[in-house]
């Protein structure tokens, strides 16, 4: 019998898991709440550190998982536990009986307007990292097109490492994303002065540090250690940013034509909702709690329920893909073990 695996979420983790399950001869069923596959990565333009086009990655993943059953625009209505199986009821009226559920529900981007002092949604020239990727992809944004861009700022840690925003975790990828976007903007606006306001630069990944050195030395991007405290708008519609240069111990002020907020990764309320139907534990950061954070990051404390990707915390693209493969291997070993 071909074992069915229900995958909740059609982002890169769900697609990679589906393609690996297909290779092993199982029947993956992807449930995706939106109308398209690829999740957040499908909205991105290029990926660090090699500037790989995001759409190539997503289209490769979609091609390799095309034989999976995919339900788009479908949400989880409820999940209940039968004797050995789970009954997953979808919003489109379809019910699936399966012994295995893989959560690949991912993260949600922090809503930058919640940090009111940064002025997103209030001042015209304040945008987010996601808005900037949208502009890279479509070329459409009146806040950039037709404007004189001579100075650009990037604010790291927007909604991350922020207990008042109820997200004490580091979102991991924003430092390197800010550097990537700063370099891309410098290439598009070579005369612009570009400032990155950071608390710490956390460049842990392969080639991330090289990227940082490149931004400093080859592109002359200014790094200012200090969290932006407030943003205001002047009469020309430009924004004035205030921070402390903590390396110098002096207050610092600069007028910018464009300010980009690096919105962080926060837990996805949809994944918390589905998890609550199975009484799955939630970790202190709001993300799903693995049965162990070192050895069993893809396992939940319940039989047959597995996790992959950013549903358990902020992850990079390669980490997410590796976890999807790892979760599939765990499911495979369990199925083999049960057949004996």
């Amino acid at each position: 019998m071909k074992e069915i695996v229900v995958i909740i979420g059609g982002g890169i983790a769900g697609l990679e898991a589906a393609s690996q399950l297909l290779k092993l001869g199982y029947t993956p069923i992807i449930v995706e709440k939106s109308g398209q596959l690829g999740g957040h990565v499908a909205q991105w333009n290029r990926l660090f550190p090699d500037m790989t086009p995001a759409k190539d990655l997503v289209s490769d993943l979609i091609a390799s998982s095309k034989d999976a059953n995919i339900f788009l625009n479908a949400e989880i209505s409820f999940i209940n536990r039968l004797k050995d199986n789970y009954n997953v009821m979808l919003s489109n009226g379809i019910s699936i009986i399966s012994r295995y559920i893989l959560f690949t529900t991912g993260f949600r981007l922090f809503e930058a307007q919640k940090k009111e002092e940064y002025g997103y949604g209030i001042y015209n020239q304040v945008i987010t990292n996601a808005d900037l990727e949208h502009w890279f992809n479509t070329g459409k944004d009146d806040r950039i097109n037709g404007k004189e861009i001579k100075s650009i700022g990037f604010v790291h840690c927007v909604g991350s490492r922020d207990e008042k925003a109820r997200n004490s975790q580091c979102s991991k990828v924003c430092c390197i994303t800010a550097i990537k976007q700063a370099i891309e903007m410098k290439e598009k606006f070579p005369d612009a002065e570009i400032y990155c306001f950071y608390m710490d630069l956390r460049l842990f990944g392969k080639k991330f540090e090289d990227f940082y050195i490149k931004a400093q030395r080859d592109h002359g991007i200014h790094f200012i250690r200090g969290r932006v405290s407030e943003v205001s708008e002047n009469i020309d519609g430009n924004v004035i940013v205030k921070a402390e240069d903590t390396l110098l111990g002096k207050p610092i002020k600069v007028t910018l034509n464009l300010l980009v907020l690096m919105s962080g990764m926060v837990c996805n309320p949809d994944s918390t909702r589905s998890a609550s139907m199975l009484s799955l534990p939630i970790d202190s950061d709001g993300f799903l709690k693995s049965s162990d954070n070192v050895m069993h990051i893809t396992s939940s404390p319940r039989n047959g329920i597995y996790y992959a990707g950013a549903c358990t915390g902020p992850k990079t693209v390669p980490e997410t893909l590796a976890e999807a493969r790892s979760a599939v291997l765990e499911i495979h070993s369990r199925i083999i073990g049960q057949q004996k």
Binding site: E193, I213, Q216, R217, G220, H222, D245, L247, L248
Partner: protein, 110 residues
């Protein structure tokens, strides 16, 4: 005089910073941009504990347009080169300081 005076602002306004001389410095010494402010240079500097000399601070002051402050602490450098030995990014700090003197002195002499 009455007992009041206006304190000058110590704030840095990046809009008014002239970058001409620092850009010239970076053309000759591109490594000036690579400092990551780790503080190894200041920690090893034999003049630091007596005078506050710090290559990190010199570079930062120059980048923020505070040239007077930079020269004030730079005057205490003995050019021993210990900072060059410890810099993790391999910046030739001793050479860099000499280049700073050359570029910034040119205009000050008038």
């Amino acid at each position: 005089m009455f007992g009041f005076r206006i304190s000058p602002s110590s704030a840095i306004n990046l809009d008014n910073v002239s970058r001409d001389r620092f850009s010239e410095l970076c053309r000759i010494e591109p490594d000036a941009l690579r400092c990551m402010a780790c503080g190894s240079c200041s920690a090893t500097c034999p003049a630091a504990e007596f005078s506050g000399m710090s290559v990190r601070k010199v570079l930062l002051y120059l980048q923020r347009g505070k040239e007077e402050e930079a020269f004030k602490i730079m005057n205490n450098c003995m050019l021993c080169g210990k900072c060059t030995m410890v810099c993790p990014r391999g910046i030739n700090t001793r050479h860099l300081l000499l280049t700073i003197c050359r570029i910034y002195e040119k205009e000050d002499r008038r």
